[in-house]
């Protein structure tokens, strides 16, 4: 690495880290974003409900509430600038049975306190008109018109690509190991790929943000507890709903929702289970049962046999107290300049509404830097526009004809279920932040997410990756180190089996 001197190093390439990079790339700063995995967004950023919440749900006065509402407002323009899929769909929090109505009203009140615009209360008739499949015992709902649905992978990649376009550096497969501390100041970081120096280190390390900060003796009592949520995706041909549907929340959280997605799927989840292992993203039989039961409370006709995909994510639940006087809440975002050692900004405990708040978190971090005395000079040639790459599946016949003329590889369909073409795959492999694994291509193009779950495309994609990266097919992996698909060539002897 020739250049290891930066102004800002961001640890963590999830949606929040990428948004911070993007917002900071507006200024004359040398920015480095490091990500330990083989691709961006492989933590909670790719395992969530893909909803941009309106913001009625977080505790009033909390940082979560403030940044949720602000972040929501920024998404429309951002999606246009950065070219990712976003729809302001609105949502309904549905009360099932009269006993849920008081809690629903309380939620409405909280929304007012949080400054959430465009909220209304619907009666049973209105709910049923909008969502015919809703539980017949639904008595009404809270409608929030600013809720949106988004593709969180696209948002993460697009933000980071725009940062790169504007001069930032993104390093994948680069794992933070320790701080470089000199004269009681943080001067840089050590990674598995060498040392890097910077004035500011921004810790956006997700589920591991506590471990990172503790290496600088920052916030020794701050702790992240993983709370796992499981999700089930249903075949849109069999399960179609029109809306984003929430239950009335309980003490445990937002509850198990049923939502349409920006790609037309129907998704149910998440449940919430506190676990010990920060690597444990397993789905469970109990979790499935819980999610199905919760989903059927809203939409009784949901049948688990229509599942086409399942996944689980870990919420980085922190224990930071809310800084607003008089607000008794102990799981707020921790976003602050570390007071006891210079050079560190912690962005930790980012669980829901982290995705919704992400652009507002980035804004907030910019403000923190200004408050700390950084003169942030805007680049005269800052370009906020990152054009989306063509998506064959969304185009009409006529549009496809035009696209195919620019590159015939746009006509070679690789994923039959979702109509993803070879040209799209190749472009992601050679994108500013390259997709070098099967899952990276899947996240970015939507390949392999349909009914066949990669059964047909996996051998084809493996071959394309090998060809484009000029490596052997034996080296192609699902998600990076240790996850290769293939062990050896058929005719080689067993003694030549690779460590996969």
């Amino acid at each position: 690495m020739q250049n290891n001197l930066f102004d800002i190093i961001i640890i963590g390439g999830g949606v929040v880290g990428s948004m911070i990079a993007r917002f900071l790339s507006r200024y004359e700063l040398r920015i480095l974003l490091i990500e330990k995995e083989a691709d961006l967004g492989m933590g909670a950023s790719s395992a969530n409900t893909a909803i941009i919440h309106a913001g009625y749900d977080p505790v009033p006065g909390s940082l979560k509430a403030k940044l949720n509402v602000r972040g929501n407002a920024l998404f429309e323009q951002l999606s246009q600038e950065l070219g990712f899929a976003f729809e302001r769909s609105g949502d309904m929090v549905v009360a099932i049975g009269e006993e849920e109505w008081p809690n629903l009203l309380a939620l409405y009140e909280m929304g007012i306190q949080n400054g959430v615009p465009d909220m209304r209360l619907f009666d049973a008739g209105e709910v049923k008109r909008r969502e015919p499949k809703i539980n017949p015992s639904a008595i009404g709902a809270l409608w929030a018109g600013t809720t949106g649905i988004v593709d969180p992978f696209q948002a993460t990649i697009a933000a980071a690509e725009n940062a790169v376009m504007n001069g930032a550096t993104v390093l994948l497969n680069t794992r933070f190991e320790d701080f470089i501390i000199e004269d009681a100041r943080i001067k840089g970081i050590k990674t598995n790929r060498g040392n890097f120096r910077a004035r500011w280190i921004i810790n956006v390390a997700g589920i591991h943000a506590d471990a990172v900060m503790h290496l600088a003796n920052s916030n020794p009592t701050f702790k992240i507890t993983p709370r796992r949520g499981e999700y089930y995706v249903f075949d849109p041909a069999d399960v179609q709903i029109n809306n984003v549907l929430f239950p009335v929340p309980s003490a445990k959280g937002k509850g198990i929702l049923v939502t349409t997605t920006v790609h037309g799927n129907t998704m149910a989840g998440p449940n919430a289970q506190i676990i010990a292992d920060k690597e444990d993203t397993a789905t469970t039989a109990e979790g499935m049962a819980e999610v199905v039961s919760g989903a059927q409370k809203l939409v009784p006709s949901i049948n688990p046999r229509y599942t086409i995909a399942t996944f689980a994510g870990l919420r980085a639940m922190g224990n930071a107290p809310c800084k607003t006087p008089g607000v008794d809440y102990h799981a707020d975002f921790l976003i602050e300049i570390e007071p006891d050692i210079q050079g560190l900004i912690n962005v930790a405990g980012i669980e829901s509404p982290g995705l919704s708040a992400s652009p507002a978190i980035a804004e907030y971090v910019v403000e923190l830097l200004k408050e700390a005395g950084e003169t942030l000079k805007e680049k005269s040639d800052f370009n906020p526009i990152r054009p989306a790459r063509p998506r064959f599946r969304t185009l009409s016949h006529a549009e496809r004809q035009v696209l195919v003329q620019t590159d015939p590889a746009y006509a070679r369909v690789i994923c039959r279920c979702e109509n993803i073409t070879e040209a799209e795959i190749v472009r992601e492999i050679h994108a500013p932040i390259p997709a070098t694994t099967y899952d990276a291509i899947k996240r970015r193009t939507w390949l392999g997410t349909g009914r066949c779950q990669g059964g047909f495309d996996m051998p084809l994609v493996t071959r394309i990756l090998a060809r484009e990266l000029d490596i052997s097919e034996l080296e192609v992996s699902k998600r990076g180190e240790g996850s290769r698909f293939l062990f050896r060539q058929s005719k080689d002897s067993q003694e030549s089996d690779h460590e996969a």
Partner: protein, 426 residues
């Protein structure tokens, strides 16, 4: 390549090839086969084992050889092929939209279409195996493609879930290529596939079969490290205390085939909820005039020879539709799945086509009956034909023939039922 054809066949697997050849022989002038792979042959290209052609050619051929015979004949007859081409859409008016790296994105029109897209495999999420999602969980067909065509081994130590034919065939194949197959797990208490494969794939190669077992969860973050096997009861519920870790690096799934009908559905073809394939009459014509279907896209066959027969039927029908001889039926005789029958194909009979040619009804029994059985076709009140066999198994398709002498009874009946039952329960 032209822009309108008499018959267009989607898929150059055994059903598609047979359809195209028969369509040509039945007088269709311009016949085109569209195939998404770079070469014709379909799934047969990766089925390198023997067992194909025992009925058709009276030979025991490997899959590629069976396909080659049809490919050679298709070329000799002057049938057009569009390879490396995906059909994006078909309309009820029989317009097709095609996407081809070599020929571009364009449409063409057909007087008749034969759907022969085959099927896809049931996936892990569809059977909801919990656990981590590492590399190393594949469907058997995907592994078969890697091993037999592209020349790679996707693992060293395998567990196979499902005793269907593909799973058993892969157990042998992987062992032949030097891998270790720890076990084949089957959730039912009977073999899913053919007995011959049990003998020649599992017994011959010392691969243990465990009936009434399944996978409880997958372990491993980046690559499969083990699966947790568990015994199940007759309701497929886990029996506590029977869990057992099986260290392995690959889990192969052979848990069912699903007819591939996205194109069909979008065009408005009526599908059977039981088979997942189009509802057809004895010409294999669907509810959309001029759109026919043959092979695994209609229902999953066990022997390719019967697929070729179906292809012949559909291709013949398509050619006759294209030249105006065959039209859409106005009144149909419904064929119902009766006692112990999961489904029957065809689901309807076109009365106007009940003339001089026999009609073959194909079905599958719901549960194994390991004693002498009757296969009976009847009306509400009257038995029309009955034949017997020594057993009935879900893994083996059953055929019952209606000969022209029975057609009067069939026409009078208006509706038919196909039953399978033990002789002892007659």
């Amino acid at each position: 390549m032209k822009h309108n054809y008499d018959v267009v066949v989607i898929g150059a697997g055994p059903a598609g090839l047979a359809s195209a050849i028969e369509a040509k022989k039945s007088g269709a002038d311009k016949v085109l086969v569209i195939e998404r792979d770079r070469e014709p042959g379909g799934i047969l290209l990766q089925c390198i084992h023997n067992g194909f052609g025992l009925h058709t050619f009276k030979e025991d051929l490997p899959g590629p050889a069976y396909a080659q015979r049809f490919i050679d004949e298709a070329h000799a007859l002057g049938i057009d092929f569009l390879l490396d081409t995906m059909v994006m859409e078909i309309t009820p008016e029989r317009q097709l939209w095609l996407s081809s790296a070599r020929k571009g994105y364009f449409s063409l029109d057909a007087k008749a279409i034969v759907l022969a897209m085959g099927c896809r495999e049931r996936t892990r999420p569809q059977i909801r195996i919990p656990g981590m999602r590492p590399a190393g969980v594949f469907t058997a067909g995907t592994a078969q493609r890697w091993v037999n065509v592209q020349g790679f081994m996707p693992g060293k130590r395998f567990v196979i879930l499902g005793s269907g034919d593909i799973g058993m065939i892969m157990a042998r194949r992987l062992t032949l290529e030097g891998a270790k197959v720890e076990s084949v797990l089957e959730v039912q208490n009977y073999l899913s596939g053919l007995m011959r494969n049990y003998v020649q794939c599992l017994e011959d190669w010392d691969v243990p079969l465990r009936l009434r077992h399944t996978v409880k969860r997958v372990i491993g973050k980046n690559r499969v490290e083990a699966v947790e096997a568990v015994a199940v009861d007759e309701k497929w519920q886990f029996i506590p205390g029977t869990e057992q870790m099986i260290p392995c690096d690959t889990l192969l799934l052979s848990v069912g085939l699903i007819p591939e009908n996205e194109l069909s559905k979008k065009a408005g073809v009526s599908l059977s909820p039981v088979t997942g394939g189009p509802i057809v009459d004895q010409n294999f014509q669907t509810n959309l005039p001029g759109i026919f279907a043959a092979g695994n896209v209609v229902h999953v066959y066990d022997l390719v020879d019967y697929v070729s027969e179906a292809g012949n039927q559909a291709g013949h029908g398509a050619a006759l539709f294209a030249n105006g001889t065959l039209s859409k039926p106005q009144k149909s005789i419904k064929v119902n799945a009766g006692r112990n029958v999961r489904y029957v194909v065809p689901q309807f009979l076109d009365p106007r086509a009940l003339k001089d040619e026999a009609v073959v009804l194909q079905c599958r029994v719901t549960q194994p009956i390991e004693e002498d059985v009757w296969f009976e076709v009847r009306s509400e009140s009257q038995s029309i034909v009955r034949r017997s066999d020594r057993y009935a198994r879900p893994g083996e398709m059953v055929s019952v023939k209606l000969t022209p002498s029975m057609f009067d009874d069939v026409l009078k009946a208006g509706e038919l039922f196909l039953d399978i039952y033990a002789k002892s329960e007659a």
